[in-house]
């Protein structure tokens, strides 16, 4: 049971948020999270946000991969 996608918060109303990905918007429940802010990227599964994406970690991972890529260059 794992299909979930990162989507950006564009509006918050109480315990519901509107999230967006490339123009697709959906109202989702924020009941499983705390301290959600507009601009956060949330992992969305079946109408709920199950976690906040850690953007620092995401950028770190991509940087490491690019470095591996450069090291491996023939």
């Amino acid at each position: 049971m794992c299909l979930a996608i990162p989507m950006k918060v564009i509006k918050i109303e109480g315990n519901k948020g509107v999230v967006e990905l490339s123009g697709v918007q959906k109202e989702v429940s924020l009941n499983l999270l705390t301290n959600v802010k507009v601009g956060d990227y949330l992992i969305i599964h079946a109408g709920f946000a199950i976690e906040k994406l850690n953007e620092k970690e995401a950028k770190k991972t991509l940087t490491i991969w690019k470095e591996i890529g450069n090291l491996q260059k023939p």
Partner: protein
């Protein structure tokens, strides 16, 4: 598509694959990696990453497809409910084609049963609010990723005093299944690809015994091609370099060490773990989630009485062994002949991530 497309870079994929193949080049024999999440089965086949990796790496699909591990009795119960005149069954899409002992929800729908596919348990609650004269039953199938959603929905139903919403809980827990697999001598597993979004809920701790007591390296992995490759690289490194087996987290941008505390507390508030039957694995201790007495007014099993037909099994179906990785789909005498996606016998063929369906679709030998 921020935080999605970057993880599909071809150049980086080829370089990561190269690193993995380097690690394994001197290794004698095969390495068996098992994933226990249907979404991982799908992602691995969809991305075609196995083409990029050495033949020495064998990928096994374990019991992570929630539809696959739902036993016949659950489906027969849902079918029996759908035949009652005042019931609306609401369910995720995959469940409607699952064969029970003699029918399926898809067939019941065709004969007049009220079955509605929903994207979220919240939709099911909305239907209950719109149709107060009907009993709306949500089929709660899924692992720890989905259980907190259903828990939250039950709590909302409780707060809003909705009297006609029910859940038939078929939720199951992944760590007990993983340890059960390791107790089975038929299986050889060298490393676990741990489910990324289940782990977002439960964190790293539940996997620790698998590394420390069973000595099996386990890595929590995301779902994009580069996640899979990095995660496999971490596993192969542990295995080939001979490090002490440990739990690692590749999916750091989503999974925290302690998981999602709030989601876990919701699960604990509404559900309790009890022994539960898994298709192919029989009864596993403390592996299923059942609704606590405090919320029994939402428990379909307690509130709706119905006659359920005697459970039947097809004796030649080896879904149980396929799920656990002991056999491949083509080892089954029914595969591709009597059991096809058009006429599935066991759930491994029904769900789009069932092992047999994935093999059939992608024509793996």
């Amino acid at each position: 598509m921020k935080y999605i497309k970057e993880y599909r870079n071809k150049d980086l994929a080829l370089r990561l694959a190269g690193t993995i193949n380097n690690y394994i080049s001197e290794y004698k024999g095969k390495i068996f990696l098992m994933e226990v999440c249907g979404t991982h089965t799908h992602s691995i086949f969809y991305s075609g990453i196995m083409n990029l990796l050495s033949d020495k790496i064998e990928h096994l699909s374990g019991p992570g497809c929630p539809v696959c591990v739902t036993p016949n009795e659950y489906i027969d119960t849902a079918i029996a409910y759908s035949r009652l005149p005042d019931i609306i069954i609401t369910t995720f899409g995959d469940m409607i084609k699952v064969p029970g002992s003699t029918s399926s929800l898809e067939k019941e729908k065709a004969s007049g049963g009220k079955v509605k596919i929903v994207y979220s348990p919240l939709e099911s609650l909305e239907i209950a609010q719109r149709t107060p004269e009907k009993k709306v039953v949500f089929l709660g199938v899924g692992f720890e990723t989905t259980a907190p959603l259903v828990a939250s929905t039950i709590l909302t139903a409780s707060d809003e005093k909705i009297k006609n919403f029910f859940v038939l809980s078929g939720h199951k827990l992944i760590p007990p299944a993983m340890t059960a697999l390791l107790e089975n001598e038929e299986i050889k597993i060298d490393g676990f690809i741990c489910p990324g979004h289940v782990s977002a809920i439960i964190g790293e701790e539940p996997y620790k015994p698998i590394a420390t007591e069973y000595g099996i390296p386990s890595v929590i992995i995301g779902f994009e091609p580069l996640d899979l490759l990095e995660g496999i690289e971490m596993l192969i490194k542990q295995i080939t370099v001979g490090e002490k087996p440990k739990v690692e987290n590749q999916y750091r941008r989503v999974v925290r060490k302690r998981g999602n505390i709030k989601a876990l507390s919701l699960i604990n508030k509404v559900f309790e773990a009890k022994d539960s039957t898994w298709r192919g694995l029989e009864l596993l201790p403390k592996s299923g989630l059942y609704i606590k007495a405090r919320y029994s007014q939402f428990d379909a099993e307690k509130q709706i009485s119905v006659n359920i037909e005697k459970t039947k099994f097809h004796s030649k179906c080896i879904c149980g062994k396929v799920l656990t990785g002991a056999k491949k789909p083509y080892d089954c005498t029914l595969y591709g002949k009597l059991c096809t996606p058009e006429n599935p016998i066991g759930p491994c063929m029904v769900s789009s991530e069932g092992t047999c369906a994935a093999y059939y679709k992608f024509n793996k030998q």
